[in-house]
């Protein structure tokens, strides 16, 4: 027992500080991905409910592709694909330069793309839950289309979509574990190094699972708090 406490301590002999760094990387990757994923998802949702057929079709192709590919494969496609693509462009200008893609950025793009395709479906069904009279009310008040969207529709939209978005956030935290494969020092990778060095694999992978659980529980508490405060402000 004493031995385990030393292994997990913060200090030269313990792995506590390395694992804490991994937690920081996991959390910051999730937080960095969330806004771009939601913004892109909202844009795709707008495209999919457009009156224009080409725009709808383009949005549907996007969702079909990125919901159908395994997340790990999307990550590899972004990581290696971008590396090869940018390398070719760079070689064209200066033949000796070598390009290394930042794995944090690759993870952010890949997870953001996956998140946005799921988020677009969430927003789309939330749009369907808002009656048409809300738009007409906005127009009758003399608001422009963009102002109606911003002031009338979007507050209701987020309130309706919040439970489903909570789920997407919890999935996003879990999906970040995949970036350990392309070498980003998140929880799972740090723990894997510790497990290999100390030969205490069960202990360290158990700690990793516990940390993900803690992140999930903390997010649930926080998000259900937000949900409650939003529901209180909603008109009855």
């Amino acid at each position: 027992m004493d031995n385990f406490a030393t292994l997990l301590s913060f200090g030269p002999e313990g792995w506590g500080d390395d694992i804490a760094w991994g937690v920081l990387v996991t959390v910051s990757l999730s937080l960095a991905t969330l806004p771009i994923g939601l913004a892109a998802g909202f844009a795709v949702a707008l495209a999919k409910r457009s009156k224009e057929r080409p725009l709808r079709l383009a949005g549907n192709i996007y969702t079909t592709i990125f919901r159908g590919l395994p997340e790990l494969l999307t990550l590899f496609l972004v990581y290696y694909g971008a590396q090869i693509g940018i390398q070719q462009v760079v070689t064209f200008f200066s033949p000796d330069a070598r390009i290394e893609i930042n794995s944090f950025l690759a993870g952010m793009v890949a997870l953001g793309v996956v998140l946005s395709s799921y988020a677009s479906e969430v927003f789309l069904s939330a749009f369907r839950a808002i009656p048409h009279g809300q738009y007409e009310g906005g127009y009758a008040l003399g608001l422009r289309r963009s102002a109606t969207m911003r002031l009338v529709i979007m507050p209701q939209l987020f309130r309706i979509a919040l439970p489903a978005l909570t789920n997407l956030w919890l999935n996003l935290i879990k999906d970040t574990a995949l970036v350990s494969v392309i070498g980003l020092a998140d929880i799972l990778r740090q723990v894997g190094i510790a497990a290999r060095v100390t030969k205490q694999a069960f202990l360290f992978y158990g700690v990793a699972c516990a940390l993900y659980l803690v992140l999930a529980i903390l997010s649930s508490i926080l998000l259900s708090g937000i949900e409650r405060s939003v529901a209180r402000r909603a008109p009855a």
Binding site: K51, T64, L188, A195, F202, L203, Y212, L213
Partner: protein
């Protein structure tokens, strides 16, 4: 009819010419078409009969491995999910609590971490496992993957089952009792058929999620479709290996999605109005 046509206004005529949305939409669609065409041209120009004849059998065996893994895990998970779902619904805390903890753990942690915990973590207990005669099981990545995936999907399927069973109204039970049917008969003939209709789509989504999720077994050296792809890429450094895998995964998922849609439409045709 004539009254209606007088009072109801005609809908506004569709916009003519080129509104911004149409321009953007056409441009994006053209972009997709260009990407698709580019992919096609790339795959044709990079076509290498030697590469194909060498790795196509590997891809096929990888695909079979993926399907086997998912099928076995889904079936074991379905069996395991039944007691867990009933535990979750039980009013006795000694049943409800462990079931809740099981479901929370497996839904709250990444599948990859669970797989590592079982494959690498159980290796810490090698002497004990050898003494118990279970080491042959936890030594093999394949068995560990099935073990981890079955437990994971059992947690998800238990929640699907519970949600579906609870979606059937109390009145259905009461009506059954009023007819003097036994509890088991009510469950089998009245509750289950209605619950399964609700559960159909979530079950289908779970299968699709498992197919996508199964790609991670490549990391613990199981040669599924993803594993074969990684092996082919590491030998050839040819990016088309990943593109072929993407096309195969997309084809499987779309095929499954259409089948599920078809089954759902067929089974709920009496509910259409």
């Amino acid at each position: 009819m004539s009254v209606a046509s007088e009072t109801v206004e005609r809908p506004a005529p569709p916009p003519r010419g080129w509104p911004t949305a149409r321009i953007v939409g056409t441009a994006l669609l053209a972009l997709w078409a260009a990407l698709g065409l580019g992919l096609l041209v790339y795959l044709v120009s990079a076509w290498n009969p030697e590469l194909f004849s060498r790795y196509a059998p590997y891809y096929l065996s990888g695909l079979i491995t993926t399907v086997e893994l998912v099928a076995v895990s889904i079936v074991i998970g379905a069996v395991l999910s039944i007691p867990i779902a009933f535990g979750r619904m039980s009013s006795k805390r000694r049943f409800a609590w462990p079931a809740y903890a099981f479901v929370y753990f497996f839904r709250g942690t990444p599948l990859l971490a669970q797989t590592f915990l079982i494959y690498y973590g159980f290796g810490s207990f090698r002497p004990e496992l050898q003494a118990a005669g279970l080491w042959w099981f936890f030594r093999e990545a394949w068995y560990c993957a099935i073990f981890a995936f079955s437990l994971n999907t059992a947690a998800y399927q238990a929640e699907i089952l519970r949600g579906a069973l609870e979606s059937v109204g109390r009145g259905q039970w009461e009506a059954g009792k009023a007819l003097g049917l036994s509890k088991w008969l009510i469950f089998r003939k009245i509750i289950l058929p209605q619950a399964m209709l609700v559960a159909l789509r979530p079950y289908g989504n779970e299968i699709i999620l498992m197919i996508k999720g199964s790609a991670i077994v490549a990391i613990i050296t199981v040669y599924d479709l993803m594993g074969e792809t990684r092996r082919a890429y590491s030998r050839t450094f040819d990016f088309q290996t990943y593109l072929w895998a993407a096309l195969i995964y997309l084809a499987i998922v779309e095929f499954l999605r259409n089948i599920i849609d078809f089954i759902e439409r067929r089974l709920t045709r009496h509910l259409k109005r």
